[in-house]
């Protein structure tokens, strides 16, 4: 994504004139203790691609849910083509002509493409007629789909196509896209932009929610920026720099995490994976194929990739939640441990932070001190002598972690679920780093957390590596991978490219590898 090509694309773009398709006036939404939207004004015109920008928790999702009828505003008014309307539920929104493509797909895995689409259309659509309509729309917009495939068998990109076709068949005048590219490869995203521009050209309004600023600058006519539930600015994104947009979102200038020093040659290999292959645990998972990797003391290796390409499976194989076929497939600090469970691997000095905070990395309804026990009872000598838990120790560790990582909590020892996403993530990462592990495997360290927490967490990873630990970071956030990794590998379809220094991997090359083509073959691998 070079700067010149962007400007060129944008120059053809001007915000269309005309009466707004949809206008929201003074929308306020209160949840129990939180005001998610505070007097929000917003209008989108026909043929306009309108960006809704904001950090996680800024109130974007709430506003969109209100527009789509999934939530009711506490106060305020919505006007549809000038007329005040109440949108009591999503079906009513669809009848008005509002379509939505969800961030986390709202598809039914066990049903076919046609059945899925039929569910979103009102009335008594016959499946036979629908099939041909699906085929014609998907051909028109370059979104190839087979109506009788079962959704469970589709790739992520194909699933999004189903969502979009489903939306288009309702002939909407407004399409809401919630972070549509977060799960796509750069190439798939480009295809999507073509489709969206075409739709806008036909007079359809597109509300585009994203935090990817470059994308917004290349695609959108106009932007509304939310912070803490309020509209803080409206602007023409092409006239602003990405840095300026970011500071509008965050409220202050963002400062980058300093990258670690170069790793000295010949540093000890702390984590190594050797030709690991592992069959998928269930039909919707991915086989790991011949994965090899080394992480040395003092470095961060980042693994980029699109969701669902084997990240979860790799994490499970590294943590020992699933055992590898051979003992020597995984080594921690030189010790073969492929057949040993997660506790044994922790005892070898490794620590793990999974993608899901709630329900995997932490038990929602247990207090923070108990969540300390969760991962540390076997490695901290004083925490559970002879199987009896020392609660004072657990509480002391919880407090130490909270202090070091600035975990903000309402009571001294709250339940994990009472913490906000960012604070809980800081706690979960901090809990492991506090152990001073020699190996840290972390998946999606800043998924869905605010910029402040993300900076804290990334800095902590960098500091840990600099102190001599090996850090392996699996992340779908390419910016994050590029920001703090010393070496980068890409995972696609269960295969892992051999890690290469960041400087040798341009963004475009990574994007290509994420699709599974252009993978750099790991050394020593031959066709068999």
């Amino acid at each position: 994504m070079g700067a010149e090509s962007e400007t060129k694309a944008v120059s053809e773009f001007r915000r269309p004139e005309g009466e707004p398709t949809l206008a929201a006036i003074g929308i306020t939404k209160d949840f129990a203790t939180l005001r998610a939207n505070d007097n929000v004004d917003f209008a989108i015109r026909p043929g306009e691609i309108h960006a809704l920008l904001g950090e996680n928790g800024a109130g974007k999702s709430t506003l969109v849910k209100i527009l789509y009828g999934a939530l009711q505003p506490t106060s305020g008014e919505i006007r549809w083509r000038g007329r005040p309307v109440v949108i009591p539920n999503p079906a009513a929104a669809r009848r008005l002509g509002i379509g939505m493509v969800f961030q986390h797909f709202s598809l039914f895995d066990s049903l076919t493409v046609a059945e899925n689409i039929s569910l979103a259309l009102s009335g008594t659509t016959r499946l036979d007629g629908l099939r041909s309509r699906i085929e014609s729309v998907s051909k028109d917009y370059g979104l190839p789909l087979r109506p009788d495939s079962v959704v469970a068998d589709l790739s992520v990109g194909e699933r999004q196509r189903v969502e979009i076709v489903r939306c288009l068949l309702q002939e909407p005048q407004l399409i809401i896209m919630d972070e549509p590219t977060s799960v796509l490869t750069p190439q798939e995203a480009d295809d999507l932009f073509v489709t969206l521009k075409r739709l806008a050209g036909e007079g359809c309004s597109v509300l585009y929610i994203s935090h990817r600023l470059e994308e917004v600058r290349g695609l959108c006519h106009h932007a509304t920026i939310l912070r803490h539930g309020k509209v803080v600015a409206e602007c023409d994104p092409q006239k602003e720099t990405a840095r300026r947009l970011a500071s509008l979102m965050v409220g202050s200038e963002v400062h980058a995490v300093r990258p670690p020093d170069p790793v000295p040659e010949g540093a000890a290999v702390r984590l190594s994976v050797t030709r690991l292959s592992l069959d998928k645990p269930h039909p919707f998972a991915v086989d790991l194929k011949d994965v090899s990797l080394e992480v040395r003391a003092g470095e961060i290796v980042g693994i980029a990739g699109i969701a669902g390409n084997g990240q979860d499976e790799l994490f499970a194989a590294l943590s020992g939640e699933r055992l590898a076929p051979g003992e020597a497939d995984v080594r921690i600090n030189g010790e073969p441990c492929g057949r040993r469970d997660i506790t044994a691997r922790r005892r070898l000095g490794a620590a793990f932070v999974p993608e899901e905070r709630l329900g995997h990395g932490a038990v929602p309804r247990l207090r923070l001190s108990s969540n300390v026990v969760l991962t540390r009872y076997a490695t901290d000598p004083g925490l559970a002598p002879a199987g009896v838990i020392n609660r004072n120790d657990a509480l002391a560790i919880a407090n130490r972690v909270s202090q070091a990582f600035d975990v903000r909590k309402g009571s001294p020892d709250p339940e994990a679920s009472a913490l906000s996403g960012g604070n809980l993530q800081k706690f979960v990462v901090g809990r492991e780093i506090d152990r001073q592990p020699t190996v840290l495997v972390v998946s999606q360290p800043t998924w869905g957390v605010d910029a402040g927490a993300a900076t804290t967490i990334r800095q902590a990873l960098v500091d840990l590596a600099r102190a001599g630990s090996a850090v392996l970071m699996i992340s779908q956030d390419l910016d994050e991978v590029l920001e703090i990794s010393d070496r980068i590998a890409v995972i696609a379809l269960g295969r892992l490219s051999s890690p290469r220094p960041r400087s040798e991997l341009p963004r475009e090359a990574i994007g290509l590898m994420m699709t599974g083509i252009g993978m750099i073959e790991p050394e020593g691998r031959h066709a068999h």
Binding site: A32, N89, D341, H360, G361, V373, L374, T375, Y377, A418
Partner: protein, 363 residues
Amino acid sequence: MRIELIRRPERSAAMAWLSPVIAVVLTLVAGAIIFAANGIDPLQGLYVYFLEPLTLPFTLYELVVKAIPIIIIAVGLALCYLSNVWNIGAEGQLTVGAITGSLLPILFPDFQNVLTLPIMLLMGILGGALYAAIPAVLKSRFGTNEILTSLMLVYVAAYLLDWLVRGPLRDPQGFGFPGSRPFTDFQVMPILFPGSRVHLGLVFALVVVVGAWFILHRTITGFAITTLGQAPRAGAFAGFSRRRMTMLVFLISGGLAGLAGIAEVAGPVGKLEVVISPGYGFTAIIVAFLGRLNPAAIVVAGLVLALSFIGSERAQIVLGMSSQTGRVFQGMLLFFVLACDTFILYRLRFVRTPHAPLARSAE
């Protein structure tokens, strides 16, 4: 008008205490309605049922006698349910425990010494545990639904007992009636309070309650139970094995049900019979939930449910009510407890909604 549930930010401590109380009150109200419907003065009915037993020494003792097996079993079941393992076949495990524990006194009636009872108890525990191991193994080996298998085994155990006491284990001097020879001397549970039927099982019950409380709140094993129950992935992440835990809680709960079984036949029942339990294994399910899976609260809940057994016996004698009212009360109580527990995590909101024709698309 629509009812909406709003999730509370944290669980309500007040509701955690209030919920069982409200459930008991609601059950009493419903009970009063049932009495009235049967032409009985509701106040008198409730008095005979729930208060009068508490005023008589004999029924107080009997309350404890009934509560013993219920509490012992319920504590075991609580461990299961906390770890999200659904053993509902305690009645069958009780039956098999009673059978295996009785083998010694029936087959070797002359083996009379201080070891007799301990061996009987151990064999009872072992029998219950092994019987519970069947659904546990099927669950962890084949993924078979343990709810259905453990329940099916209740029926199987009942027929096994029926066959044994009418056939191989029948008392030769029993005039052809089903049932084993009565247990004597060293084969029976010592009585704790002379003149009552309260037996050594009371001590077992208290030890079980304290032990379970300690395990749950102070040990890694207990931590593993709650973690695997609430968040299985987090449990696996902690290094706890779901399979091993399924096995462990089934063995513990089965063993405890077996203990309750042999303590019954070596205690109040006195011999192996066609019917050795009025459904203690099922009542214990209610008790486990009424005590919200907390061993200490299960003691209280066990006494309340024991009262419903005594009360229904009294109501039968004094009021001519069916003996089945006890089970109705128990079922209602469990329902009300489950409903009230919702308000620990949620609060209600009533929303007035204009009935727009919007719901049509959902047809």
